[in-house]
């Protein structure tokens, strides 16, 4: 691993640390964010060339998908579009304007582009054109949070001690020990089959049954189950269904109406996405293995992330001080990551049997409906 590779992975890992801190803050829409994870990107804009910067963006998006477990669902495309488009716009803008703009201006443009890209992709893959109803709110909130983020960036650049060390060429984070994780190939295959079955299934009731089975599999895979995000997702889809009436009116609310057709559509879309997210969680926990430079950078970034998380827990002080301290401690490699004992995993046999059930329901839903 060359020093550049280590640097890339380390910066990517710091975005993962911040996005996991972000995860602790509750949010009303599944893809609404404060954007803390973009802080490291803002800080390295000037000191890093395009090729490594591109890898950092990619690692940030994929790493977030791995940590949150959404990598193998279409929510990943939404976050990828946001990260790549805003990442490049910010770098381009800083390159053009240099000293004439501070991180505040850069951050505002980044948030604007990111939200626009996410809305567009979200309207393509899940929500449909009705999502644009939420656009002014999202873009407006994005402006406020990005101004705060820009100030935070400037402040950190001035007062934080880590950027000064980091921006020198001699900086080199210590290579962490990477722990081999067992790859459960049969589970990976089972989950790929399950994803195909989820995409094939039709109708709210079969999809509800499939969703419950997918949660059972997620439990067998010892992956934590969160109920709030999927409920939020369903709620937001039903809310948007008000703007796209189709079918018999159940009740009206001024110009808005709840119609049978749009409710059924919202439930179908929502349940399909929830089942897909759950399958993605189980797929991530089967530790699928990839090859190539990107894959080895990802493994490195994830192990740095483990160390940074462990470091963050030991450092005291304000949020910025803790992040600063964690980065120092992570770069020095004094602490090792606490590995969640993933070894005691449930049996693959029950996962495979449940997957076969899912496939059965999926085919039945096409035949009988």
């Amino acid at each position: 691993m060359s020093p550049t590779d280590r640097k890339i992975s380390f910066i990517a890992a710091s975005t993962l640390l911040l996005s996991s801190l972000e995860y602790l803050i509750p949010k009303p829409l599944p893809f609404l964010r404060l954007g803390l994870a973009n802080l490291p990107l803002l800080l390295v804009l000037q000191s890093i060339d395009y090729p490594p910067y591109f890898f950092i963006l990619l690692l940030k998006a994929i790493g977030q998908g791995m940590v949150s477990g959404t990598l193998f669902s279409y929510l990943f495309f939404i976050s990828l579009a946001g990260t790549m488009s805003s990442g490049f716009t910010m770098k381009l803008l800083k390159g053009l304007l240099k000293k004439r703009v501070s991180l505040v201006g850069i951050s505002v443009v980044g948030a604007f582009v990111s939200n626009l890209a996410q809305l567009q992709v979200a309207s393509w893959v899940v929500y449909g054109p009705a999502i644009w109803v939420a656009a002014p709110l999202m873009l407006g909130l994005g402006m406020i949070t990005s101004i705060i983020l820009g100030f935070l960036g400037e402040r950190y650049l001035q007062y934080g001690s880590f950027p000064k060390t980091f921006l020198t060429d001699s900086f080199e984070p210590v290579l962490p020990t990477v722990e081999e994780q067992t790859h459960h190939i049969e589970r990976t295959i089972a989950m790929i089959v399950a994803i195909a079955a989820i995409l094939f299934a039709q109708g709210p009731i079969p999809l509800l049954m499939i969703t419950l089975l997918m949660y059972a599999i997620q439990r067998m895979s010892r992956r934590k189950i969160r109920l709030l995000p999927p409920l939020m997702l369903l709620f937001s889809l039903i809310l948007l269904a008000l703007f796209e009436p189709s079918g018999q009116v159940i009740f009206t609310l001024g110009t808005l109406a709840l119609t049978k057709g749009s409710i059924a559509l919202a439930l179908t879309k929502g349940l399909r996405l929830i089942a897909l997210l759950s399958a993605s969680q189980s797929l991530v926990s089967s530790n699928p293995r990839f090859k190539g430079r990107l894959a080895s950078l990802l493994v490195l970034a994830l192990s740095y992330f483990g160390i940074l998380t462990a470091c963050f827990r030991t450092v005291k002080g304000s949020l910025l001080e803790r992040v600063d301290g964690a980065l120092f401690c992570g770069a020095k490699g004094t602490l090792q990551a606490v590995h969640s004992s993933q070894n005691e995993q449930g049996s693959s046999v029950s996962i495979i049997i449940t997957t076969i059930l899912v496939v059965g329901i999926s085919i039945a839903s096409r035949v009988w409906m």
Partner: protein, 122 residues
């Protein structure tokens, strides 16, 4: 604290973005082409004019087939004797309607930004 030289740049960017957000807001207020409300013997149905679709309403005489295409609604077939309703021009303006009285089906456009010209001319 001294005023940084980048202040002007930042303010220009923030103003530009705010203007852009305002335009998105304004266009999201206007873009709605509304919906078509369908009154039938067994209740009111409502369909957005934003997406194309074909659907069937059942009245006392039989089926009335309605089509929504390019933000306009029309009746393409109906189980009534004269089939007058199928010759009506497609409707997309708020307040315009097509009726198939023998089969008790009434289509009305509601909430579209395209106001019926008569209303404006008063």
């Amino acid at each position: 604290m001294k005023i940084p030289g980048s202040l002007a740049g930042d303010i220009i960017i923030i103003i530009l973005c705010a203007v852009a957000v305002f335009f998105v807001f304004a266009s999201s207020q206007n873009s709605g082409s509304g919906y078509v409300s369908v009154q039938t013997p067994d209740g009111i149905y409502r369909y957005s004019l934003d997406s194309d679709r074909l659907f069937t309403i059942t009245g006392p005489l039989g089926d009335t087939i309605i089509e929504i295409r390019d933000g306009k609604a029309r009746i393409i077939d109906s189980a009534c004797p004269t089939k007058t309703c199928t010759f009506q021009t497609p409707i997309d303006r708020s307040g315009s309607f097509i009726a198939c009285l023998p089969n008790h089906v009434l289509l009305t456009v509601v909430g579209s930004m395209n106001e019926e010209v008569d209303d404006v001319a008063y």
